[in-house]
Symmetry: C2
Subunit: 339 residues, 2 copies
């Protein structure tokens, strides 16, 4: 299958340069992929024309308007349909692109995606899934903040969606799924997680993944399960707390290295290892919040990302599009409702 990715060239803090640099990197890694690029011609073309890796690989569609980074979703939906974001999603809706990627305003992107693409039958709410680094590789966690609350049924839907994500990305037949809780024993936690846990255990034989049971916050990075399911409030807090913790530790390490001449000398000897370490904890390396549950694939890149980060989000959209994630979720959610 020749994959086409729809790109919002105007989204993000450093658009369009970072966006074009990003897809140019992704094009080198995926020479079979084509791009539909939406944006303002005057802003985008000077960057686009310079990229040899993108030559004959793209179609550019001019859009008069852009979605401001700080606009409220409701304002955006009232705006003209000339924005690059609106039209980028349109390509997925029409079927001329297999996925859409934007580094723009998250709330606006979610609102427009819901309005235009609608939900998959059997899914009540979309969820945002993120990749987390773990000791043994990576894990998928959802919801990272599409909703501020979740019912037990929605947690079960998140489990089905997360399982398809992990199946495609980690190439695992039966990914393991855990529900995030304050303890691992059954009976711990609030009614929402207890009911979802009970349901998944009862239907263990009918689901297409391994239900592990409850996991705790430290299990995320331990790699206890391939997928961690939680409501959007808890997921968002956990993600930002982890980012804050990484920044704090990074600051401590920097201060330790600069604290005296001996540690500075030490850092000089270890400079290549330290650079590799720094790259490893760079959140831009695992960039891309995937909107799941919609009848079309949309990937949100971090607004402040650099070209490498945008390329990571684009690569992710390509992998998930090739794996037919939307169709896989649609099929499995129907099965899950069957019993």
């Amino acid at each position: 299958m020749s994959v086409v990715i729809s790109i919002d060239a105007m989204g993000g803090d450093h658009a369009p340069s970072v966006v074009i640099d990003g897809i140019a990197l992704s094009a080198v890694r995926h020479p079979d992929v084509k791009f539909k690029i939406f944006g303002r011609g005057n802003d985008v073309m000077p960057y686009l024309e310079k990229k040899t890796s993108l030559k004959d690989k793209y179609e550019f569609i001019h859009c008069d308007d852009i979605v401001p980074m700080d606009a409220k979703p409701a304002q955006v939906l009232r705006r003209s349909k000339q924005t690059s974001m609106w039209n980028m999603i349109g390509a997925v809706l029409e079927g001329t692109a297999h996925a859409a990627v934007s580094a723009g305003n998250t709330g606006a992107l979610m609102a427009m995606s819901k309005l235009r693409l609608r939900m998959i039958d059997g899914i009540s709410r979309p969820a945002i899934a993120s990749l987390w680094p773990t000791r043994s590789g990576e894990a998928v966690m959802l919801d990272m903040g599409a909703n501020v609350e979740a019912t037990s049924d929605q947690l079960v839907e998140f489990a089905v969606m997360g399982a398809e994500y992990a199946r495609i990305l980690f190439d695992k037949k039966r990914p393991t799924i855990g529900i995030l809780n304050v303890g691992t024993e059954a009976g711990k936690g609030n009614d929402v997680v207890k009911n979802a846990d009970h349901f998944l255990k009862e239907h263990r034989d009918h689901i297409h993944f391994e239900y592990h049971g409850f996991v705790e916050g430290n299990d995320i990075t331990k790699g206890t399960t391939d997928v961690i399911v939680t409501d959007g409030f808890t997921g968002n807090v956990a993600l930002k707390t982890a980012e804050g913790t990484a920044q704090l530790i990074g600051g401590y390490l920097k201060a330790a290295i600069l604290s005296n001449i001996w540690s500075k000398i030490g850092a000089w000897f270890a400079r290549h290892s330290l650079a590799a370490f720094k790259e490893k904890i760079d959140p831009k390396r695992v960039n891309g919040g995937v909107f799941l549950g919609l009848s079309g694939l949309v990937v949100k890149s971090h607004g402040g990302t650099n070209a490498l980060g945008f390329a990571a989000a684009t690569d992710l959209s390509i992998d998930l599009a090739k794996g037919n994630i939307v169709e896989a979720i649609a099929k499995n959610i129907t099965d899950a409702r069957f019993f």
Copy 2:
């Protein structure tokens, strides 16, 4: 005031040795403090008698029974009243000790503390408060898991309790308080946080702290506010996610240092700075979950802590007892209900 601290010598994975080593350290730092030590004589006395810093500083009370680390709270409450934990709390209840410290079973300690000490008038639920390291020092966060849900009224109670904790420990007249949410603008989040935010803003002139508004997960370690208020589910997940993140990064750093001979040489030069760094990110350094809202002060040390960690928890109980935290909360919660 001559402070007396009640100690459960039998609680924790490495009791009683770690407990006795811990209070011996704390006794050096606080020569004015006395201890009431509860435990099995045969187990405790061999350690206790060796500690010169504790000479004439303690009273030992023999208890036949102990609370197992893996016992369920309900089982524990049915047990004999001969456990060291039950009697340790009793000393606070009788007024012969100003605070109690245990590294034992958290659920059992909370259940016993609630049963014996009861709530402060005007507080509906106890909360567990923890210290977090921040870029600028430390912050208090609560609830870390005493409850799995919270109402808006309870978040307001947590704010009042957290403010007293911060006032005493950070010696600040008007500590700043933030409510943890998925965004900082008013109107974000679920009804529970929105209503608590609305209430605190409306009563801004009548509360004894600065209400900052909403904060996000990364604000905890940024030090945006002195106190972060959240429900026990979110707080527990955030704490364990931060611990997991710190462990993951520690593992990456270790692997980076061991990756080649140059980085090993570098680490040798930087060994003192790295040791200081390691100590700084050691979670045992900030050890002690404080049970707030009860009409007596109880501090829970981490079950797997070492002597330094138990000493940190004991020091914390001494500081908070000297600051009369229970009386301060009782006074301020009455004022908060006044308007």
